[in-house]
Structures are given as structure tokens and as C-alpha cells.
Amino acid sequence: MTPNQLMFAIFSAVIIIFSILTVTSRRILRAATYLLFVLVATGGMYFLLRFNYLAAIQLALYAGGIVVLIIFSILLTSHIAEKLEKPGLKKIIPAFLAAAGGALISIATILQHNFPAEVVSGGDRTNITMIAKSLISTEKYGYALPFEVISILLLAAMVGAIILAKKRKD
């Protein structure tokens, strides 16, 4: 087992175990913490694949931003000590069947498919300069338009979030 394989195994195990814990934990704050682990492990995956910038974004935005946001909202809306009620079997069984069935089909499909056996090796070929240039480039493989669109979306989301969360006067 190469070190890479080992790292992958660890990240993968963390992701799978903690995501299952995230959706099953009956303490909501713990679920949020497990989610944080999952997100960090995903960031690790990116590191493994040598997408350093993306990994940094993942850690900063997801782990640092979104999880904190989620925890805030938990604190606003729930009691920490409170345990979530157990979902009934009527809900668990169909959901489990659907999820397991879907997972099985997908995994079977993935395993059946022959991906090209190309061996790619390391080195982060992306540096921030390149990413930045791509983001504002209007040529082929340039992402100026999506970049602008996403900026507008973020702005709209921000305004929308403020409007929605604002206390109404009436």
C-alpha cells in the first residue's frame, strides 16, 4: 500500500463514517461537528489530488464558513441539550431502501465501466495565477461569464437572506 493509498483510505473512511454519523446522530450539534469532519476530509481529498487552492477554499469556506453558519442557526433555533426524536420505521425503511438501491446501482455501474488506465502522477499543475487568469479570461477555458454570474448570484443571495431574515414590522 502506497502512502497515497493509505491517505486515501483514511480520508475515505472518515468521509463515509462521519457522513453516516451526520445523518444519524440525534444530537444536532454533534451532527454539525461530524459534518465538519466530513468537509475537512473532503478537503484532504483535494489535497491528495493536488488541488491545493481548491482545498484551501474548501477548508475556509465550507469548514470555516458554512459550518459556522449552520451552528449559529442551530443555536438560534434549538436547545443544545435536546435530543432529536427518532424517526419512525415508516420513514427509515423506504428511505434506506431508496438510498441503498441507488448506491448499489451507481456502484455497480461505476465498477462495470472501464476507465482508461492512464497513470497520472503528482505535482500541482495549477497555481493561483493561472486560476485567477482563467477566471477573468474570456477566451477558451476562460470563466469570466460564470464568474460574473456567480458574483451576481452571491449578491442576490446576500440581499435575499437579509430581507428574509429581517424582522417584519407587522
Binding site: K91, P94, A95, A98, A99, G101, G102, I105, T109
Partner: protein, 641 residues
């Protein structure tokens, strides 16, 4: 070449007045809108007079010496096909110019009169706005360059007439009368529209210049037999005449006219005496070449309908007591005479005497009939009743009204040298040339006219002394001045050498008074007058005796020959019971039933399946995910060969 393009302003001024007065009139004192409307009308009147002068005396005549037909203004409005298009424009020829003069003159007088008559009425501004709308539509009708423009303005005239008849909309009878007028004329206009469509279908044009020109397509096309042995062209002209008969209150579409007297009296004077009701006559005159050359049978229909309407209305007029109704029937009778004159007319020169007589009578009738109505308005204003039995001896109180009313009565009775004499004489002469029987009928009508007009006159101004609640007094200056001006018109309009201006082929010719016709006509008129004097000058029981002696006939005449009842019977008993009810049943049970059935099935089905829409987000998601998985399974594994 004389420029006539300014004539479009004769049309636009009232439209602008309508919009301005209608929208902003209530910002000012009511009098302002009255004066504004009157001022607009005055400008139009001057413009019309200038136009007439320029047209008849300045504009050079066509090569053959006739008056030209010219398009003063034209605008293509709707293109239907390459040849068929609807234009908006101004067509000037002798009859449209004559109508311009008639309409603007009478309308101007009525405007001035209304300032006094309508003073203090609620809706003063609305009255003047609608009056402007009416002037606009009526003028648009007479200067129309094509049938479709005429039809559009024809309907606009109907609408403004509806609005004016229903002016006192809080009064049930006025509302009913306006609805009646609108529905009856609308029904007639259906015929008009069918006629237009048939005519334009076979000729491929709406244009008057083409339709009535020398090589009109109407003369060559549509000659095939269509139905009942009559050609397409004949049928279309009969249908078009149906529209004209509706507007001009010809039998049997006349029933709306007497009821239309519910409107304010100036409206009756303008619309239901001088202008709108002669639109039918004008229509027939406008299409006269087609009538005479392509559809002589239709022209005979015009003649018989006109003659019958005139005698029919004259008889009813003798039995009515409401003064405005007498005048309404008198109008109908006079219009019947105009139609009759058109019907007997030939084409060209002296042959076309009837045509010229009809237009002449239209012209003079406009003066004396609007004068009569305005006089009646002044009387009603003074004594607050419409019924002649409640009047009497008014000559002392209303000297000006009395004098002008007398002039108008003499004019309509055909006493020389007043205007009515000349035009009526021409009509009788034209009728004499064509048919002896109808000539006699029209002579009787003429005698009856004299009789009922003087019956009216003597009952109002002479007769028994009646005590009024308060002493009647002469109306204000704004009301008496128009009366006097119109009286001048009624006196002198007949002296115009009309045949020099208006004739069937637009070629001036000399007409003269035939003593053989004129003397009997005047005698008949005098007999009528003296009979009326005998009966009504002093209170006698003679009229009642005659009324009773005639028994059923006079009773029928008093009840307007039960035409209204016949209509009611046809609509209520026959149409409602045997046509409308089955249709209503079909609609209610079959059509609605099908709809209700569909709705019922839909409703039941949705009741059954609505529980699927539980509002539970996770149910939806589960179904969605399962669906996606199932489809993936289906398309990637089960359905691949």
C-alpha cells in the same frame, strides 16, 4: 385647383371638442363647456359655408359641366387585399356639401338653444360632449369616401343617439327608449352590414367613387340570380336599404323613433328630425346610381316603403296627443316622402327630379322640423308638459315661439312661398311622373300633414283657455334667437334654385313649378289647415265625433296600429318560446351538462388522488429519488439489448 384639404378640420373639431369637454369639462363651470361646444360648432359652420361657396362657385366644373366629386382628404387605413381596402377620408360632392350645411347649421342652432334649454340640468357638460360626438360621427358619415367608413360612422351615430336618448338615465322610460332605439337600429344595421359585404364581395371595392362612377363594377357584376328571382346586386341593395330604413325609421323599423322623444328636446330636434334620421335617405342617395342602374327592384322597394311609411305615420300623427310624438310621426312621414321621391326618381336631368326633390325636401325639412322641435321644446319649457290637451291659448304668453311655430307649420304644410312648398311640390311632381296612385297617396299625406300640424298648432296656441300653475313666459334669448334664425331658414330655404346645385348626375338643370301639380297640392294643404281650424280653433266635440265614427280604425291609429304589440308578440311569444327556450334548454342541459360532466369527473378524480399532495417535503423527495433510481435501472440495465 381649389384646395379643400382643410375640410378634415370640420371633422376633427367636434372630435377634439368631445375629448376635451368630455374629459376636462367638469373642471370648469358647466357654461364653459356649452360655450366651447358652441364655438367649435360655429367654426365648423363657417368652414362648411366657405366650403360650399368654394365648391359651387369657385371650383371649375368637370368637362361635361357637372359638379366634380373630389377627395378632399384620403388616408388608407386598413389594407384587406390589393384592391380591397378601407380608407378614411373626406369626399366632397353636392349632396355631402348640402349635408355639411344642414348638419352644421342645425347643430349650431341646437347648441345655442341648448345653452338656454339645458341650463341647470345635471350633466350639462356630458350633454355637450355627447352632442360633439354626435356632430363628429354625423359629419364623418356624410363625407365618407367609402361604404365602410360610412358604416363605422353610422354605428358611431347610433351610439351617440343612444347616449343622448338615454340622457336622463335615471328615468326608466328613457333607458328603455334608448335601448329600444339602439337595438332596433342595430338590427337594421345587421342588414346594412350584410349588404355591404355582399356588395363589396361582388364588386371588390368599398369606394364610392368607383362604385358610383361611370364604369362601376356594380353595373357588371353580381347580376346572377341569387334568391327569389332577384340578383345578388338587388339583394345587397335591399339589405343596405334595410340599414337605411332602420336609421330613418321607415316602416316596419320605425318603432324606436317615437320613443326616442324621451331624450332632451334639442336632441330630438338635431338627431331625430334633421340629421341622423335622414342618414338613410342620404345613404340611398349616395348609392343612387347603383340603385337605378343595377338594382331597380330595390329602388321600387324604397319607393313603396317610403310611400307606405309616409301615409302610415301621417295617420298615426293625427291621433297622438304628446306633441313630441306628433312631431316624431311627422318626421317619419316626411322622411317617407323623401324615400318615395328617391324611389320614383330617374337618372339625369329632369328625369332625376325625384332625386333632387328628395334632397331638397331633406334640406328644407331640416329647417322647419328642427324649428318645430325647438319650438316644442320652448313650449314644454314654459308649461312643463308634453300633452297638448293640457295646453291652449299660449299665443299670448309665447309670442316669438308662436310666430316661429306658425311659420314652421305653414312651411311643412306646403303653403307658398315657404320652403316646404317648393320641395314638396317637386316630390309630388316626380311622383306624378311615375305613378298616379302613389301621387294621390302622397297628396293625401300632404293634406294630412297640414291637418295634424295645424291640429297641433291650434291646440297649443288657440283652443280652450287653460289655467297654468304659473304664468308661462317666453324662454331666454339663447332659445328664441335660434328659433328666429331657423324660421328665416324655413321661410327662405325654398327660394334656393336647388336643382342648379344638386341633381342625380350632378349636372345643373332648371326645374320649374308646374301649376297642375302645385295648385292641387296647395289646395289640399289649405283644406287640411281649415279642417284643423274647424276642429281645434275653438273647443268643439267634432273631433271626438269623427274619432268615434271611424271606430276601430281610429282606435288602431291611436295605438299606432299595434306595431309595438306585434313586435312584442313576435319577440316574446314566438321567438322567446319557440326559439330561445329550446336553445336555452339545449345550452343549459347539453352544453352546460357536458361542461359540468367534465368538471364533475375531474373533481372526483382529484378528490381521489389529492392525498398524494401531502405537503410533506420528504414524501415528494422520496418519490422523486425512487423515480430517478427506477428510470436509471430501466434505461441502463433493463432496456439495453
Amino acid at each position: 385647383m381649389v384646395d379643400f384639404s382643410y375640410t378634415v378640420w370640420i371633422l376633427l373639431i367636434p372630435l377634439i371638442m368631445f375629448v376635451v369637454v368630455g374629459l376636462f369639462g367638469n373642471r370648469f363651470k358647466p357654461l364653459v363647456s356649452g360655450i366651447a361646444g358652441t364655438a367649435g360648432l360655429f367654426v365648423m359652420w363657417i368652414l362648411s359655408l366657405i366650403t360650399a361657396y368654394k365648391y359651387f362657385f369657385v371650383l371649375e366644373k368637370a368637362a361635361d359641366g357637372s359638379f366634380q366629386k373630389l377627395l378632399a382628404f384620403n388616408m388608407r387605413w386598413l389594407n384587406l387585399t390589393d384592391t380591397l381596402h378601407i380608407d378614411m377620408g373626406v369626399l366632397l360632392d353636392p349632396i355631402s356639401i348640402m349635408m355639411l350645411i344642414v348638419i352644421t347649421t342645425v347643430s349650431f342652432m341646437v347648441h345655442v338653444y341648448s345653452i338656454g334649454y339645458m341650463d341647470g340640468e345635471k350633466g350639462f357638460m356630458r350633454f355637450f360632449a355627447t352632442l360633439s360626438l354626435f356632430s363628429f360621427s354625423m359629419l364623418g358619415l356624410v363625407v365618407a369616401t367609402n361604404l365602410f367608413q360610412m358604416y363605422i360612422f353610422w354605428e358611431l351615430v347610433g351610439v351617440s343617439s343612444y347616449l343622448l336618448i338615454g340622457f336622463y338615465y335615471t328615468r326608466d322610460s328613457a333607458v328603455a327608449a334608448s335601448k329600444k332605439a339602439f337595438i332596433v337600429t342595430r338590427f337594421a344595421d345587421l342588414g346594412f352590414l350584410i349588404g355591404i359585404l355582399m356588395l363589396s364581395f361582388s364588386t371588390g371595392t368599398f369606394d364610392f367613387l368607383t362604385l358610383t362612377g361611370a364604369n362601376s363594377p356594380a353595373f357588371s357584376s353580381g347580376t346572377g340570380i341569387l334568391f327569389l328571382g332577384l340578383s345578388t346586386m338587388t339583394w345587397s341593395m335591399i339589405f343596405i336599404f334595410m340599414g337605411g330604413a332602420g336609421k330613418s325609421a321607415m316602416f316596419p323599423l320605425h318603432i324606436w323613433l317615437p320613443d326616442a322623444m324621451e331624450g332632451p328636446t334639442p336632441v330630438s330636434a338635431l338627431i331625430h328630425a334633421a340629421t341622423m334620421v335622414v342618414a338613410g335617405v342620404y345613404l340611398v342617395a349616395r348609392l343612387f346610381p347603383i340603385y337605378i342602374f343595377a338594382a331597380p327592384v330595390a329602388l321600387d322597394v324604397v319607393m313603396y316603403v317610403g310611400a307606405f311609411s309616409s301615409i302610415f305615420a301621417a295617420i298615426i300623427a293625427c291621433t297622438q296627443f304628446d306633441i313630441k310624438r306628433v312631431l316624431a310621426y311627422s318626421t317619419m312621414s316626411q322622411i317617407g316622402m323623401m324615400m318615395f321621391a328617391l324611389g320614383v326618381s330617374g337618372y339625369g336631368g329632369h328625369e332625376g327630379l325625384g332625386y333632387m326633390a328628395s334632397m331638397f325636401h331633406l334640406f328644407t325639412h331640416a329647417f322647419f322640423k328642427s324649428l318645430l322641435f325647438l319650438g316644442a321644446g320652448a313650449i314644454i319649457h314654459a308649461v312643463h308638459t308634453n300633452v297638448m290637451n293640457e295646453m291652449g291659448g299660449l299665443r299670448k304668453y309665447l309670442p316669438i315661439t308662436h310666430a316661429t311655430f306658425l311659420i314652421a307649420c305653414l312651411a311643412i304644410a306646403g303653403i307658398p312661398p315657404l320652403s316646404g312648398f317648393f320641395s314638396k311640390d317637386e316630390i309630388l311632381a316626380a311622383g306624378h311622373d311615375k305613378s298616379m296612385l302613389l301621387y294621390i297617396v302622397e297628396s293625401i299625406v300632404s293634406g294630412l300633414t297640414a291637418f295634424y300640424m295645424f291640429r297641433l298648432y291650434f291646440s297649443i296656441f288657440w283652443g280652450k283657455e287653460t289655467h297654468y300653475h304659473h304664468t308661462p313666459h317666453e324662454a331666454s334669448k339663447t332659445m328664441t334667437i335660434p328659433l328666429m334664425l331657423l324660421a328665416v331658414g324655413a321661410l327662405l330655404a325654398g327660394l334656393i334654385p336647388f336643382s342648379m346645385f344638386v341633381s342625380s348626375d350632378r349636372m345643373p338643370f332648371h326645374s320649374h313649378i308646374e301649376m297642375g301639380i302645385a295648385i292641387p297640392a296647395v289646395l289640399v294643404g289649405l283644406i287640411g289647415i281649415f279642417t284643423a281650424m274647424l276642429f281645434y280653433r275653438k273647443e268643439t266635440s267634432l273631433p271626438d265625433k269623427i274619432y268615434n265614427a271611424l271606430g276601430g280604425f281610429s282606435k288602431a291609429a291611436f295605438h299606432k296600429f299595434y306595431i309595438d304589440e306585434v313586435y312584442l308578440f313576435i319577440t316574446k311569444k314566438i321567438i322567446f318560446n319557440y326559439i330561445s327556450r329550446p336553445i336555452a334548454w339545449f345550452d343549459r342541459h347539453i352544453v352546460d351538462g357536458a361542461m359540468n360532466g367534465i368538471a364533475y369527473v375531474t373533481n372526483e378524480t382529484s378528490e381521489g388522488i389529492k392525498r398524494f399532495q401531502s405537503g410533506q417535503l420528504q414524501h415528494y423527495a422520496l418519490v422523486f429519488v425512487s423515480g430517478v433510481i427506477l428510470f436509471t435501472l430501466l434505461f441502463t440495465y433493463l432496456l439495453t439489448n
